[in-house]
């Protein structure tokens, strides 16, 4: 199989398999959560919790206070670096927007590619820091399972291959493009079965926590 055929395969059949598994798996997971549900709270509530739920949905993106942030500085800073970098790369790089446009029928303006490139570097460095942290910090090392390292690799590879492809490093462009798309497909397939699913379920988690606390008049 030459690179052209392989590129065609990853863009067609490969992407099809990945997208079907991803959508199927994520929907199963979300429905499993929603259908377990939560019993109505019979206590006299201080609020219906909706405002608090929405608040937590957003406010959990930042640490609750300076001391908590200081205690988890590496995770917070590298976590931000990785997530912001990743989101910028995914959603603001011109070729990616092109893909979304072909999928959803609408697109949005891209930002300058060298700027996206900078975010990619930030995300890559952050991921390396997070791996180092995972390997060295007693708590994170203790908690880590093979899945954590697998998911790390699944997140790192698309970024790295995309970065190399853009800069034409190491391998011919089309091979890197193949690697890039394949690694994204690998990640999509892993998504519903691993903690990658947090990208979706965290909103449910935050919502529940916010509502449960809000009913008691607590802001979380």
């Amino acid at each position: 199989m030459n690179s052209g055929e392989l590129l065609f395969w990853v863009r067609g059949t490969g992407l099809s398999i990945a997208v079907v598994i991803f959508t199927f798996g994520m929907l199963v997971r979300l429905l499993e959560i929603f259908m377990l549900g939560r019993r109505r709270n019979l206590a006299e509530l201080r609020s219906n919790g909706i405002g608090a739920g929405l608040r937590t949905l957003i406010m959990r993106s930042i640490p609750p206070d300076r001391n908590s942030m200081r205690r988890s500085m590496v995770t917070v800073v590298a976590g931000y670096g990785f997530h912001i970098g990743l989101l910028v790369v995914i959603f603001l790089l011109a070729p990616h927007i092109q893909l979304f446009e072909s999928l959803f029928g609408f697109g949005w303006p891209a930002i300058s590619t060298p700027l996206v490139d900078l975010f990619a570097v930030v995300a890559l460095i952050s991921l390396i820091v997070l791996l180092w942290h995972r390997l060295t910090h007693p708590v994170v090392r203790y908690l880590s399972t093979p899945e954590d390292y697998l998911v790390w690799a699944a997140s790192f590879l698309p970024l790295l291959s995309g970065y190399l492809a853009y800069h034409h490093l190491w391998l011919p462009y089309e091979w890197l493009l193949v690697t890039h798309i394949l690694s994204v497909e690998f990640m999509l397939i892993l998504f519903p079965f691993t903690k990658l699913a947090h990208a979706f379920t965290l909103f449910i988690a935050r919502w529940y926590t916010g509502v449960i606390a809000g009913e008691r008049g607590v802001e979380t």
């Binding site: 590129l7 079907v20 994520m26 429905l31 259908m35 092109q98 072909s102 011919p172």
Partner: protein, 365 residues
């Protein structure tokens, strides 16, 4: 036909001066993408080179490659080159026909055994030898016969290099490339539909100068011409980097000459020299004319998802597949969810009230 005089002498006899020869070598170096500092070495090599015999076989092809070459003919550099090779057989260009032509081919083969160059354009049908024959000889037979004593083979055009248009799905003739058949000869692929003429002559010049084929990439293409992709050498690249794209052939972006990536340009995955050498004596190339690159120097370029689909776009309808995934996921999710609820309801129904006595464990003996 046989001529053993060195090239330098031949040129001199034709009144080509020393300066003319140097100029010729300088442009050759440029053509082969060699550094100008190599010119003296080229001059020396060429002076002593002898003109080789060339046999040109055309199989399932459209003559576009020959057209490309002859469009830029004498007395250009290509002309000069072909004056100094011995094109002993080319059934489109030669005056002879029929038996005389075949006789010329056989004579050239016999005289220059193991020294002649074989140039092939067009693909070779394998399904039925009768699909394409010359003088009653099938393409496969003729290729194998001529290739046997060739010094090297140049597969000109994407058809000869990778199967080309005849190989396109569903490939009715079972067309294959030269490299699919000939395994024991040095083969250089000069793909393109058609290839840039100076690339063909550049390869010939390299063979003349150095007596061997140039360095090739993983697809058998000379690196000097196919070492960079169109995208990297494209003058519109700065627009790509700035995220400025044309979205249709008549929008503002198109008028302003912005990047054609969104209009299906395959520049990023196409290796060729169009963006630097350009076409029609360096006048322009497709992107400069406002149309994206089709990727014609890459294998199977016509089957790779449509000329006007942007590269990241999938050739399949992902939205529809995603919908299947969602519907299937919804069904499986609801089923699993109901199973879960049943399981939980059962646990609740069979719940035995936990009393104080239940907090103590049955001591196992």
């Amino acid at each position: 036909m046989k001529n053993d005089k060195p090239l330098g002498q031949l040129l001199k006899e034709q009144g080509v001066s020393r300066r003319g020869f140097l100029k010729y070598c300088a442009t050759l170096a440029s053509l082969m993408a060699l550094p100008p500092s190599m010119v003296p070495a080229i001059a020396e090599a060429l002076e002593n080179a002898r003109r080789p015999s060339v046999i040109w076989l055309s199989f399932q092809e459209c003559t576009g490659c020959t057209e490309s070459l002859t469009r830029s003919h004498a007395p250009t550099l290509e002309g000069l080159l072909f004056d100094h090779i011995s094109l002993d057989y080319h059934h489109t260009l030669q005056a002879a026909s029929g038996q005389a032509a075949e006789a010329a081919r056989e004579a050239a083969m016999a005289e220059n055994k193991d020294k002649y160059l074989l140039v092939v354009d067009g693909s070779i049908p394998l399904d039925n030898p009768g699909y394409s024959t010359i003088a009653g000889i099938s393409n496969l037979d003729m290729l194998e016969e001529v290739a046997e004593h060739a010094a090297a083979i140049i597969a000109v055009g994407t058809c000869a290099a990778y199967g080309g248009l005849p190989h396109a799905s569903p490939n009715p003739t079972g067309a294959v490339s030269v490299t699919d058949i000939i395994k024991d000869k040095p083969i250089v692929n000069v793909p393109g539909c058609p290839p840039i003429p100076v690339v063909i002559s550049g390869v010939l010049a390299h063979f003349l100068t150095f007596g061997r084929l140039p360095d090739l990439d993983h697809l058998g293409r000379p690196l000097a011409f196919y070492g960079n992709n169109i995208h990297d050498r494209c003058y519109r690249r700065p627009f790509y980097d700035r995220g400025l794209f044309a979205h249709s052939f008549d929008d503002e972006g198109a008028k302003k000459g912005w990047c054609l990536y969104n209009l299906g340009c395959k520049g990023p995955v196409t290796y060729n020299a169009c963006a630097t050498i350009k076409w029609n004596e360096g006048t322009s190339f497709p992107i400069e004319a406002g149309h994206g690159c089709l990727g014609c120097s890459e294998p199977d370029f016509w089957d790779l998802g449509g000329f006007y689909n942007a590269l990241p776009e999938s050739p399949v309808d992902i939205s529809r597949l995603a919908a299947y995934g969602i519907v299937g996921g919804a069904a499986a999710g609801v089923a699993s969810g109901l199973l879960n609820r049943q399981k939980k309801a059962q646990a609740t129904a069979t719940h035995e009230t936990v009393n104080l006595s239940d907090l103590k464990r049955e001591e196992k003996s």
